[in-house]
C-alpha cells in the first residue's frame, strides 16, 4: 500500500498550476493532504476526483488549515478530527481505516512567533496521543502522516543554532517528539533509515531561494506504531515534487 502525505499550501493554487498530487505521483493509493485551505464546495470537480474516494475536512475559518484524505479504494470508515471541538474546528485531522490499518493524516498547529500558540499545540499533541491510543485499543495499527510542524533534532533542519527558540524548534514541541518517539515508542522510520544523513528536508521558506540552496526543515513525517514497523517496505521524501513550499513524504506498507 502506497501512502503519501503532502502539505499543499492551498489546493486551489496547486490545481491552477496543474500540479495536483495524484497526477504527479500516479502510484500512490492514499493521499493525506494538509493546508488545503478550501471547503469541498469551493473547488468544484476537484472535490471528487475521478477514480478516488475523497473526504475533505475544513476549518471553520475560511481559507485556513484544512485536510483531505483521498484513496483509490474506499476506507472502511473515516473519522473527522480528534474528538475535541477545540482542535476539530480547525480541520486538522482525518483518519481512514483500511482493514486493520488506521491512516491518520494530520496538520499540527504552528506554535507561532514567540511561541504564542505553543500551549494550543501541545494540547493538540496530547489529544493526538489519546486518539492514537484509542485506535490501538480497537486493534488497529497506526501510521501518522502529516505536517508535524516540529523539527525533532538539530539534524532535521539546516540552521539549528539560528532557530533555537523559533516556532517549530521550541523545547516544548521537541520534547513532545521525544516522548512520542521515545516513551511511547512510535517510529520515525525515515530517520531510522538515514540516521546521520543531513540535508533531508520537507519544507523550505519561500524567501531567498531557500529551497534551491536546500536551507530547509524536516517537519513532515510518516511515523508508525511499533506493531506496524515490520510491514514498512519503503519510506521517502520527494524534494523533486514542486507545487508547494513543502514536499511530499511517502511510505510503502506491505
Amino acid at each position: 500500500m502506497h501512502i503519501c502525505s503532502w502539505n499543499v499550501n492551498g489546493i486551489r493554487a496547486v490545481a491552477k498550476r496543474n500540479q495536483l498530487p495524484w497526477d504527479q505521483m500516479p502510484a500512490i493509493e492514499v493521499w493525506c493532504l494538509q493546508e488545503t485551505k478550501a471547503r469541498a464546495d469551493q473547488i468544484g470537480d476537484l472535490a471528487e476526483p475521478d477514480g478516488w474516494f475523497a473526504h475533505w475536512f475544513s476549518a471553520e475559518k475560511p481559507g485556513y488549515s484544512g485536510v483531505a484524505l483521498l484513496s483509490r479504494t474506499a476506507p472502511n470508515r473515516v473519522v473527522e478530527g480528534l474528538g475535541d471541538p477545540e482542535y476539530d474546528c480547525e480541520g486538522r485531522v482525518l483518519t481512514g481505516v483500511y482493514g486493520d490499518l488506521a491512516v491518520v493524516g494530520a496538520y499540527f498547529p504552528n506554535s507561532q512567533e514567540g511561541g504564542k500558540r505553543i500551549d494550543y499545540k501541545l494540547g493538540f499533541c496530547a489529544a493526538m496521543e489519546r486518539h492514537l491510543a484509542g485506535l490501538r485499543r480497537q486493534g488497529l495499527r497506526t501510521v501518522l502522516l502529516g505536517d508535524y510542524n516540529i523539527a525533532h533534532r538539530a539534524i532535521d533542519l539546516a540552521r539549528p543554532k539560528e532557530n533555537e527558540g523559533n516556532a517549530g524548534f521550541l523545547p516544548g514541541e521537541r520534547a513532545w517528539m521525544e516522548r512520542y518517539l521515545g516513551t511511547l515508542g512510535y517510529r520515525d522510520v525515515f530517520r531510522e533509515r538515514h540516521p546521520d544523513e543531513p540535508g533531508l528536508y520537507t519544507w523550505w521558506t519561500n524567501w531567498g531561494g531557500a529551497r534551491a540552496r536546500n536551507i530547509g526543515w524536516r517537519i513532515d513525517y510518516a511515523t508508525v506504531s511499533p506493531d506496524l514497523m515490520d510491514r514498512v517496505a519503503d519510506i521517502r521524501i520527494h524534494p523533486d515534487i514542486m507545487g508547494s513550499d513543502h514536499c511530499p513524504v511517502s511510505i510503502t506498507l506491505e
Copy 2:
C-alpha cells in the same frame, strides 16, 4: 501646456508592469493621477521621479483612493483637498497653481451599489463647486481633470438602458453634471468637439473583454472654466494607453 489625467488603479501595479504614465506619454508636462492607492513612503524612488515635481495626497485608509500631481515645472503652490476633512481624509483632490491657471486633479467618490454613497458624492460635488469658486475669486482660471465617476448623458456610455439607476449613472449625479456644465457654465470641451459621436469612453470593466469590445463609459473628463475656453488648443482621450481599467484624458492649453 500639455496636461493629462489618468486613473491608474494602483500606481504600484502600473510600475511593476513598466507602464508608468510619464514614460508612455513623454510630451505631457502635468500629470493628475487618481487611485494611486499608495502613500509616498510605500513607493520608493517612484515618489520623486527624475525630472518631476511630485505631490502625493493619500487617503487615511491604506490602499484606498489617493491622488498625485506631477509637473515638469514647480507649481506656485499646491492645495491638498477641498478644505473639508470629511472629503480630504480620502485623498481625492490636489490643486496646482501655475501662474493664473489652477489645475485641479480629482477622484470623485463612487456612488456604490444601490446608491449607498450618493449623498457623500453629492456633498463632495458641492464642496468641489465651492473650491472652484474660491479659485476663481482668486483670479484663477480653472481646469478640473479627473475621474468624475459620472457618465453625463446616454451617449457617454455603451449601455445606457441597462445602467439606468446604476452607480455612475444615477439621476442625482447626472443632475449635478447638468448643473456644473449648464447652470455654472463649466465646459466639457471633449463633448463639445464630438457632440454626436458615440463610443468615446475612458473606462471599461475588467470582465468579459469589455474593453476589446469597447463596452465602456466616459467618466473621466477635463472641463474648464468659461474664461479658459479660448485657450484650449486640443483635448483627447487615449484608449490605446493600457495599464489601467481607465485610459488617460489630455488637454492642451495655449
